[in-house]
């Protein structure tokens, strides 16, 4: 899609200034990007457009013959349903709490990785394991740990407690699983930010009598702000689509289903593509709003904005 619109001889003003080499460079640039752009458009833009179309239809896979255009009524049905709002608030809770905890822990972890006197490689390797491990595997490990009569963690609880079968304990355990898995990623992003804090500035602050806490809040944090915002943006959007951990830990039962679980259930147990698509589009809009808020309100530099510098 990007190979057309060559600067032709017709537009000689720029064409003359553009050397043959520069023109070749433009052409090559577009040629090289074309496949990636094509794939990304075909696999995301087209389906999301199709989802918008489906969401305006009554389309139940059990009764495909009854498909017809119903306008916005699917959206009305979703937004007036308590299922949507329950899942929405569960997702907001899980996202806000886990990202907040991850930020604090991740910062601690980043400082450890940055400052530790020895075994730095070992620490970094260990920390990468939660990042790399398959989420489903980790989720099963947690699930077994908390299952009565099987797990070591369940044994610490008063007997008879099955934390995964009650809403609030289960939600906190989901937060725990999510935090364990993704804090390392947060820490690595923050570590890269820490590396940008000049050692001399910290020394100067120390000479001027700043306490460690002051050095952290007055020197490090402001310098790390861009890295922190990027890490927060990444993790917030990622946490908002939480699915794997919940699916394995509780399957969304006992009021722990997130929006992604709701969308999945709607498609595969209710087999309703119209409603399912409406949910898809609404989740997409939520994510869009979060990203927009981060970029506009907090001025998070979009990753990749580096090109401007």
């Amino acid at each position: 899609m990007s190979t057309r619109a060559e600067p032709t001889e017709g537009k000689t003003k720029g064409g003359k200034a553009l050397s043959a080499g520069a023109r070749q460079e433009r052409r090559l640039g577009r040629l090289l990007c074309a496949p990636a752009v094509l794939v990304m458009t075909a696999v995301t833009a087209y389906p999301i457009g199709y989802a918008v179309y489906l969401s305006l239809q009554r389309y139940d896979l059990r009764f495909p013959a009854q498909a017809e255009f119903v306008g916005l009524s699917n959206y009305g049905a979703v937004l007036s349903s308590p299922f949507w709002w329950d899942a929405f608030w569960v997702t907001v809770f899980l996202t806000a709490v886990s990202v907040a905890i991850e930020l604090v822990l991740g910062m601690g972890l980043a400082l450890v990785m940055h400052r530790t006197l020895f075994a730095r490689g070992t620490v970094r390797t260990a920390v990468l394991i939660p990042y790399g491990i398959v989420t489903v595997v980790a989720a099963f490990s947690w699930q077994y740990a908390w299952t009565p009569e099987l797990g070591y963690l369940a044994e610490l609880l008063p007997s008879g407690d099955a934390p995964l079968t009650e809403q609030w304990p289960a939600l906190w355990l989901i937060v725990l699983a999510e935090v364990w898995k993704t804090t390392p990623f947060m820490a690595l992003l923050l570590l890269a930010g820490l590396a940008l804090v000049p050692e001399e500035t910290l020394k100067a602050a120390m000479v001027d009598g700043a306490t460690p806490w002051q050095r952290f809040t007055k020197v490090m944090l402001p310098l790390m702000k861009p890295a922190i915002l990027v890490a927060l943006l990444f993790r917030t959007l990622d946490a908002f689509r939480i699915f794997d951990n919940i699916y394995v830990l509780t399957a969304g039962a006992h009021g722990t289903g997130s929006l992604s679980i709701l969308g999945y259930d709607n498609l595969f147990t209710a087999l309703n593509l119209g409603i399912g698509s409406a949910i898809s589009v609404l989740i997409f809009l939520c994510v869009g709003i979060i990203a927009f808020t981060f970029v506009k309100l907090f001025g998070a530099a979009a990753p990749g904005a580096e090109v401007k510098r």
Binding site: R26, G132, G151, L196, S280
Partner: protein, 277 residues
């Protein structure tokens, strides 16, 4: 003075041990479970009393697992190769060439990096069924390579920016076209970055669960994470816990090997795309 130094070191030692334990404990637990025989499965011990390969023999005896393992490896490898090739081309253009539309490409990748996969599940499910790739390898390879492309483009363009420019210029001075400069000069220099990106993309594809359970319905394309979830059936209590644990360990091994061998590169790759600049 020496005493103060020692206590400082001890403190860091304790902190390091805590961090390592935090990272490894759940992993150890599932490893321990996988080596327990069914009789002692529920004893809650951290170290199995009788080590047994029983669970591993059990899963490798069923096509349910071996087929899924083949699917996982094949699908993740193919998706990785395609994503890295397309990503390398685009990232080279982003890092090295001036052309209109570059910002559009970056914006688009960013959008896709943020895209909630669940939003695509319903439409892809329908589209894939109608064109006949539902429950096939391409049916999973296509979304995987798409969703890993932004990761590939960011990481690679960050690596590419650090390649010495002058060598390429020198090649051009010697009469190479931009395409030749790319193929003969940059590709060999970029190989380490490409390799790191391939690992990250592979981990991403290896990890996916949502597409794997939504876009497959039989053994023919189901990957291990999805297959494991189906080992369990519907109720959570009479489960083949040992089999799940063993299967979980098997798919964790490659990741641990990657991490052990390429720790430094992975850290560089993960952080370069996001923060540098």
């Amino acid at each position: 003075m020496a005493a103060a130094g020692t206590s400082h070191a001890t403190r860091w030692g304790v902190v390091n041990v805590v961090v390592v334990l935090y990272a490894l404990f759940p992993v150890w637990w599932i490893v321990a479970l996988s080596f327990k025989d069914p009789g002692t499965l529920t004893d809650g011990d951290y170290i199995p009393r009788d080590w047994t390969w029983e669970n591993y023999r059990g899963i490798f005896a069923t096509s349910e697992f071996t087929r899924a393992l083949v699917n996982s490896i094949g699908i993740a490898l193919i998706a990785t190769v395609i994503a890295v090739i397309l990503g390398t081309m685009a990232a080279y253009a982003v890092a090295r060439l001036r052309f209109p539309g570059k910002r559009l490409l970056i914006g688009m990748s960013l959008l896709i990096a943020m895209f909630p996969p669940i939003s695509l599940v319903s439409p892809l499910f329908d589209i894939e069924r109608s064109i006949g790739i539902f429950d096939t390898w391409p049916g999973l390879i296509i979304p995987y390579m798409t969703f890993s492309l932004p990761l590939a483009i960011y990481t690679l363009s960050a690596f590419f920016r650090e390649i010495p420019w002058d060598l390429e210029k020198a090649a051009k001075v010697d009469g190479a076209t931009p395409a030749q400069a790319f193929r003969l000069v940059i590709v060999p220099l970029a190989a380490p970055g490409v390799f790191t990106t391939a690992i990250l993309v592979f981990i991403f594809c290896w990890n996916d669960f949502l597409f794997a359970i939504s876009l497959t319905s039989t053994e023919s394309a189901r990957t291990v994470p999805a297959a494991i979830a189906f080992f369990t059936g519907s109720s959570q209590f009479q489960q083949p816990t040992g089999s799940i644990a063993a299967a979980a360990v098997v798919i964790t091994v490659p990741i641990i090997i990657f991490v052990l061998l390429f720790q430094r590169r992975i850290v560089a790759g993960l952080t370069s795309g996001a923060v540098k600049g």
